[in-house]
Symmetry: C2
Subunit: 307 residues, 2 copies
Amino acid sequence: MAVLVVGSVALDSVKTPFGEVKDVLGGSAVYFSCAANHYTDVRLVGVVGEDFPKVYLNFLKKMGLDLKGLEVKKGGKTFRWKGYYEYDMGHAHTVDTELNVFRTFKPHIPDEYKDSKYVFLANIDPDLQMEVLDQIKKPRLVVGDTMNYWIENKRESLLKLFKRLDIILLNDSEARQLCEENSLLKAATKILKWGPRTVIIKKGEHGALLWSASGDHFSAPVYPLEEVNDPTGAGDSFAGGFMGFVAYTGDISDENIRRAMIYGSVMASFDVEDFSLDRLQKVKKEDIKRRFRALKKSTHFEEWEEA
Amino acid sequence: MAVLVVGSVALDSVKTPFGEVKDVLGGSAVYFSCAANHYTDVRLVGVVGEDFPKVYLNFLKKMGLDLKGLEVKKGGKTFRWKGYYEYDMGHAHTVDTELNVFRTFKPHIPDEYKDSKYVFLANIDPDLQMEVLDQIKKPRLVVGDTMNYWIENKRESLLKLFKRLDIILLNDSEARQLCEENSLLKAATKILKWGPRTVIIKKGEHGALLWSASGDHFSAPVYPLEEVNDPTGAGDSFAGGFMGFVAYTGDISDENIRRAMIYGSVMASFDVEDFSLDRLQKVKKEDIKRRFRALKKSTHFEEWEEA
């Protein structure tokens, strides 16, 4: 079944110790879509300006995304993010954010999308995330992402949103900040009380942790890489692999949610190998299968049995 | 079979956001022994001063450790470490190190220990680590730890030592510093070329990674805790659980080495829950089993099978 994503479509300028790119295709909805698209159909809701390069629009079309929800705002300028990473690659340093058309963005869900069952609310204003949900008839799985800016400036809205989410995705520093707890276990326990059935805490190069109200706890490893050239979009690629797989299988059992996290981890591992969508777009089914199996092998152990 | 450890026996003064202790029992050989002792007999080689409190000596004896190798130096003062942890607990800040009797320490292996098959060289001068090995007849498994100080000041000795180690344990920042590589995969590949059959990279609250010359790669998770009160000794407790289990089973297959890492992770999880050996000494067989099984459950997933 198709997955619906609402988020940013951006032009990114990124510098890492291994290269530099200017005004390349990026944004949370784009990374998500490019990852999810390897598993299922994707409906993208977002906005760009008139300056959005044709070549990028064609790229998204050629990928087979459903772009009815992508607004091209007349006279508007596309959202831009400029940032850099230092040698450790663990933290994105923002140099400049130009909201442009994103400043007045009001997500409008096309009628054909209103029956969407699998909804991903990428990191945007929690009030807008709720406006999206108001327009969806009867979603089966709603997953939301957020960031420190909303935690600091829209805490109340965020907590309201939490009541309407099945799964919240956030990174470890955000979870700690939100809950004022150093222990991720304690933070997750707190967040579960606020509404979501499941919390997934992303830890970048250290993998991701899940806690569910069902009592489930899962630790997803990362695929070890020789080269990490640009971490931009890793979290959204994770979300894309995760949601894409869940929507494809239509299975939201604890067991399948675990498996979906592994697909998320696999897609994030491809994303960071190159700038923009350069690696992610080239991924083949066999590549995915190979990394999935490598992750399975890298976490396997058995109990000791006395001879 | 018994395991031999050579390392420090110390009086630690530690401050964390959750408490403060002064001149409590610590040191790499002590943490290691207290963890390994839950699995097998431990032979401890180290040195203390005349000021070493009787109550601590009795504590070590009562634990059942073989202390023939623990020298009490006349007129000497015991090694002391003073440090603190900030809120994130990820990094120990050293305030003061008093080497005292450790400055002139020459590890002397008692004759009864020379047949030791399982040897752990805790973090001391690599030249001394080699002197220990010179005294052991025919070890079956030699595992060594190290630290940034030796990487910076005794690189050549360290690389010489590597040729004589089966397994090197080090933490992620040390691996990166030693190899001048950001990718842990690349760092591990480099270290394997220097001699050890296996590299285990400890990542604190993010678990541990193994790479072996056999091609094996394993990612060990951590047991999530509500309270981390004092991380001191976590790495040595990991090593103790790891080596203790390997020595107990006498099995050095890839499969058992993976399992041993889980026991290492379990022992580290107990250690950090309280100051000094306060939690580690109270661990029961059932506690270990429960955490081992929880870690197994938290990493398990299966491949998707199309219905």
